[in-house]
Symmetry: C2
Subunit: 407 residues, 2 copies
Amino acid sequence: MIPGPIEPPARLLMGPGPISAYPSVLRAMSTSLVGQYDPFMTGAMAETQELYRGVWSTDNDATLLIDGTSRAGIESALISLVRPGDRVLVPVFGRFGHLLAEIAERAMAEVHTIETEWGQVFPPSVIEEAIVRVKPTLLALVQGDTSTTMNQPLEDIGEICRRHGVLFYSDATASLGGNAFEADAWGLDAATAGLQKCLGGPSGSAPITLSPRAVEVVQSRKKIEAGIREPGDPSAPDFVRSNYFDLGMILDYWGPRRLNHHTEATSMLYAARECARVLLLEGRDEVIARHERAGRAMLEGVQALGLQVFGDIGHKMNNVVAVEIPEGVPGDDARTSMLEDFGIEIGTSFGPLHGRVWRIGTMGYNARKDAVVTTLAALESVLRRFGASVPAGGGVDAALDVYAGAQ
Amino acid sequence: MIPGPIEPPARLLMGPGPISAYPSVLRAMSTSLVGQYDPFMTGAMAETQELYRGVWSTDNDATLLIDGTSRAGIESALISLVRPGDRVLVPVFGRFGHLLAEIAERAMAEVHTIETEWGQVFPPSVIEEAIVRVKPTLLALVQGDTSTTMNQPLEDIGEICRRHGVLFYSDATASLGGNAFEADAWGLDAATAGLQKCLGGPSGSAPITLSPRAVEVVQSRKKIEAGIREPGDPSAPDFVRSNYFDLGMILDYWGPRRLNHHTEATSMLYAARECARVLLLEGRDEVIARHERAGRAMLEGVQALGLQVFGDIGHKMNNVVAVEIPEGVPGDDARTSMLEDFGIEIGTSFGPLHGRVWRIGTMGYNARKDAVVTTLAALESVLRRFGASVPAGGGVDAALDVYAGAQ
């Protein structure tokens, strides 16, 4: 039995990501393909690089895409920047800190972690203390960890890293586009993301940017494939233990030499280009402000429904809130009712928060008034049907007040 | 300056891939997204697995997609199946043999290669001899190597591997869908591909299938991420040196436990699903026959234009032909004229064949009569304008004769 064409049910994706893509991003993906070295294709690659310089706030020449999901970006950064045996420091404040540590460990780094309670972030002084103690080659620090909704402040970390001769890498998958990120001003050496959160696209392409200092490291480990190597091409003895994620090779493919590596995922490139394009057309600061507004409306809405919010709200990402599941309400059944009765997805959670909180996102295309208030109206109804006592219309009113006040 | 929406020029992609995608595959990619654990999404994943069992001719439960380009599939197979220090045998008959060797080397295998002249394939006896001598853990053998257009016969190799206790892996990126491939009947333990050749989709998703024997190897190396690990979950000491490509984890994500790993690239999944769907709707054997016919028409067409064909034609893939560039014709200028004057892309080549042959593909959606004869008409015209003496209409007539005879 061969199934029919793909025909998903209507869904408003208000979880912690993936979220509903911008309509123009979906349209961009149905655009015809061109060849890998077609001048139009290399031109589109160059345009995409320039657009992401705008998204990342950077002048880094080495600004490009990794063909894979957001963790492909993380792995390419870590495996290319870290030599086996190098010390890597990972401050862990949620699941994705554990992921950075895990990927660095797979890259055969000597991994040191410091941890803070879920729902908190690290003060810069604690990170500096650990740097002094561990003396790492690289600091790997998540910006926004969706597992806890926290947004780790990065402003002061680059200067600390520079002072101690440490490379500074951050994963901004959950936060980029919806919260401030200043790659150059904050002294980042490497940063990675994905499309499926505030950038409003599908999972499957990972934007990355590297400082000149990081590029030096990856170039020093360069090895060119035997199948296309020419006399005089380098082959470093400490080459990267991955071909697919070897940033030196990937830079040669994106750079002027256009050395063949993978075949660029054309449709995902179109999607990534469109994500950055709609963001910059609206304006980077305006998009962040839209996320701040939607996030505040959702926060005040759930609070007005009498729900408790998890974690240090002062350090919450704009684009996601963790809501404690009220006593007596079956969390998974309520989520299922949201999905099946209203077509609205909200998120479950991992690890210590599993069964304790829902995560509700307001990001990318869905950082919109109608998406916020529709979700709050549905949530109110579902909570009531599961026996919770909630004020009629309170969540919607509080959210609309935020929007009214912001105008 | 923010550029406009993506707007590529019209292109008929008749190179060695990527090629023009099936229109319904492009449409599938503009379909709305759903959440990662939406029952519709897990259902679409299961459907896609079943569709690819049909494409690969296998009953392997472990039939899925790797989120990345075709070399992501290769790297996941090699790094998950090969332990550091394991011996891997790679028979090299073109660029992609070198690539398998290179990726195995990065996975810290002890790599042994045998080589044959470009344009030839290996007789099974030569491969068996090398197996006896090297005693590898795994044989890594390209099926279709686009760099030479050759299609390595695999029918007898599985039995040889089984007899010597060797895992048998093949990369079928360039050949799958346009040439016979029988994963179970031929005794494959692992096979990988991409969408951008005969499957008629964009680059960016890598179908893979693993035999139960291969699954045992990857399961024995299992490690579950700290962020989602529960008491009793395994953590093998010889874990795979990549998180992204750890097939044990990827199987847990695609399997009934649905353990969170990456966020599946939804739009690429839709594309991959549609590629397999159109193939099975038309019929696997019918699609191969269509590629055989288009390939034969192109071959007889270029020969009727007086062009020499490179390599052992008896072992050529159906879907690509390497045409020697006639004396006196500037190869790159002629390709540019094909592209800019006719909107038709044909391919250049790598390594020893660079500057010596063009590669012309007839694959996926473009394995069609009108695509073949239009390309031949354009090629005739371009060759004449660059001073080559070519018979008027000869290529087109020869190709149309093939189609007439086949009806």
